[in-house]
Subunit: 160 residues, 4 copies
């Protein structure tokens, strides 16, 4: 069974990155993509600290750590201005994209586009994409460090 | 040395409580007051979960668990509408007050009034008030469960 | 309801204490008694570290922290010589007694005497004894730091 | 730089395995070897629980999880009879070998042979051996789950 190519990302705004960041620009590197909402307790208490830990632990590898702010509820209080404070307060230095809405209008289309394209069930969700751009894993909820490490280690070990 | 009376609270809005909640109305009960900001990582990752645990562990005692939203920075993204979502998402059921500003204007007076009255240095801050309304402890930062439990247990053991 | 007096201890050997240590000698102080077996995983992984933490957290109070080695199985490999190594390796500095057997013979009387007198169900077991020598709590298994702290804090707050 | 072949093991007695277990019999599989002493607190509180977690997390892979009891001190109270109780109480089901002594005599040669062959500095020590029998990692002390998972995942991903 061949894993499918990971869908491209629809991002209305990047933090900690230029506007051209996208899956295509990361081809050749394994990608750790973590989707979150800044007011989701499981994200803030577990997934975000784990992602920061991943970024530190694999800093000397070519793993790309990318955050995606997939707001599907309470849009009014989780806009880019609030996200910017969140990123600052949590000392998040890796690129974080704001998942885009159809017609840029969450009031009529509350579910963001990348979240839909990846068929995410909620937040937090982790995705692992291999060096060839294929979606190798998608986990909704929390994942143990040992299991996560094993999956990242396997992707890093694959030839480019 | 006699501990000082705890200053009264200046609250512009209560969640999970009626408008008349105040220190005077709690006289006779020990009070666990935890001051936080909803986008402060130490608050969200440690102090808020600990406060929820305190509320559960002492539910069958007369300890009053009270939250105080002492926003002293990034006021624009931590207003009452955002706090309401935060309380809902974190399933916080105990009373939480919004610390008030002089002239109701954080843009000119960014430090809220209760925070000033208690000389708090930042968030999270825990305060313990005894049955007689005296301020018995004020801790800035994180406090170990064992030490916190001991202080609460001692206050509960004091006669009314 | 008046709590019963705590039964006296039957100890064949003390470590970190002279031979005269006993409940009577501790009257006036609250006592944290933790019964354990050195090869019981729940004891070694949780109860012993928690007891060390209790000893450190309440070092400036008059709480007496006492360990009791209540071996009721595998006696051959948990004798005093093995216990001595265990105490050394775990840097346990508070007094630890070896629970005694009837006729000093665990082969015919495997259940030690103090364990029986306190009706302990297994290890780890925590007991709290107040300043007046009364048994106020007996917990089989693990106890949360917050709840344990509250009970110790309450005992410490009681007048001598 | 080519990693060296892992030294063979000198084991006087196996638990949970037949007498013929050895590195040669595991060729083709990655090996997680954890050296411990049953009365070493860091082993019992961290390394042994982590090894049990590794065994469970990778149960559906061909990773071989092997324990090695490398007793270099207090030999009298950490003999095979005590180890057997330890393995039973901790529900350790993977193979565990007793590291052998020169002339079978720890009183004259306290440092066991495999420990010497691997130049281990103490306990706990983790070793990772790849499918080709090469020693790829040796860690003295505790290792984070994320980092450990990554190393195991990488070894598993290598072709046989």
């Amino acid at each position: 069974m061949t894993p499918p190519l990971a869908p491209s990302w629809s991002v209305s705004q990047w933090f900690n990155a230029g506007p051209d960041l996208g899956l295509a620009s990361l081809r050749g590197r394994p990608v750790f993509l973590h989707a979150f909402q800044m007011l989701c307790p499981g994200c803030v208490q577990h997934a975000v600290p784990q992602s920061l830990k991943v970024a530190a632990a694999f800093a000397d590898t070519d793993l790309a750590v990318i955050g995606l702010h997939t707001v599907f509820e309470h849009h009014g209080v989780m806009g880019p201005d609030a996200l910017q404070v969140f990123l600052h307060e949590n000392r998040i230095g890796y690129p974080v994209g704001v998942d885009a809405y159809r017609d840029d209008d969450p009031s009529t289309h509350p579910l963001p586009l990348t979240m839909q394209a990846y068929a995410m069930q909620g937040t937090p969700t982790l995705c692992l994409i291999d060096r060839r751009g294929r979606l190798r894993a998608r986990h909704f909820g929390l994942l143990d460090d040992l299991a996560l490490g094993a999956q990242i280690g396997a992707l890093l070990a694959e030839p480019a």
